[in-house]
Symmetry: C2
Subunit: 214 residues, 2 copies
């Protein structure tokens, strides 16, 4: 069984450590965050750290490294207060990954990577056309993580757009119906298939499979 302890992790080659530590926490959500600068430039960037925080109010969080690539995302969210979260489907993984390149502030990643944008209602921020789940979010707060100087940005989920076929009778979104992918490490894209849904777990009462669909 391969094994790394703290002193070995310290001594690893940088890229080797990046690959290992980025993949050792499990699969990650695969989202494109869309923003718009005050000058009207539309920005798009891959994020694998978008995480559910709570349902009432509907809240999510994600991690930013302000000194590295996705800084336009942070600046645009700070200036406009809003952004979109767009699930990556298996059909767009190559252009989605390309959006993580370090383009200059005058370049819209939509045009650079060839992903189509769309606008909903009167919202002044771009969504990714065809993304099976699209969220409109409003900045709530941020927490500076002292341990490595990242930022944990918190936002309210104000609007949810869902492609046909995902939404089940009990509100659950069956993500494999939209070919939503998960990220493995920094650069691996994997396509999940539902194995099972389970009933609410209670002590001394084994969970039952609900078979998938609700």
């Amino acid at each position: 069984m391969p094994f790394f302890d703290q002193s070995e992790l310290e001594k690893l080659d940088k890229v080797y450590r990046l690959n290992l530590i980025n993949s050792c926490t499990g699969y990650k959500s695969a989202n494109l965050i869309g923003t718009r600068s005050l000058a009207g430039i539309e920005n798009l960037a891959v994020f694998s750290s978008v995480t559910h925080l709570g349902s009432h109010p509907a809240l999510l969080g994600f991690i930013l490294r302000p000194t590295t690539v996705p800084r336009h995302t942070y600046q645009n969210i700070k200036s406009s207060g809003i952004f979109t979260v767009n699930h990556i489907s298996s059909e767009i993984i190559a252009p989605a990954h390309q959006s993580s390149a370090n383009y200059d502030a005058q370049t819209s990643e939509f045009e650079a990577v060839g992903l189509e944008k769309e606008y909903h209602h009167n919202l002044n921020v771009p969504f990714v056309k065809g993304a099976p789940v699209q969220l409109f979010c409003r900045y709530a707060n941020e927490y500076s993580i002292q341990e490595n100087h990242t930022i944990h940005l918190i936002a309210y989920i104000e609007k949810v757009f869902v492609a046909e076929g995902l939404l089940q009778d009990d509100g659950w979104l069956r993500l494999d119906k939209g070919k939503v992918v998960a990220i493995n490490g920094l650069d691996g894209y994997a396509l999940p298939s539902l194995v099972s849904r389970f009933t609410y777990a209670r002590p001394n009462q084994p969970v039952q499979s609900t078979g998938g669909d609700s």
Copy 2:
């Protein structure tokens, strides 16, 4: 295209909203966190919020609702300073989900749900035997999320144990080789298959697929 705005989200039935908002951020990591109380009771609980925070130092974070089910996890981490993170494979999704039931503090979820524990080296905290990736973590800090009174707990990844067959030459863990699952919402378990790995993205240089294995 189904659509929910803020006022509709507010008015939804509680379970419907839980299902919708828990699945709208994408796939989540599927981990069992193992802890041990000062009295020696071994605790195990499913967490879907474990997220990579940084590689150097190796850091992860996860979200706790101290007033609800996983409170033993929090108490044990606070008293011992250590815990384990164990990836859930498709072979143990039923007992893993069962561990989310609200057992009393005297009950070890390992015995209650029938998952085998193991101890590595002289570490005084249980791992899940057979879990394809196992992490030994040390408490670093916690941030109180004012917006909904959850806790963002930060920990150092001090040791990484990996099953045979996952570790690639460049440090990347190919998770589908371990049948690691991802969580869809509160109660859906999905099994991903790798589609592609890509080269590092640079402007004006289309990403290349590396084919999966490295």
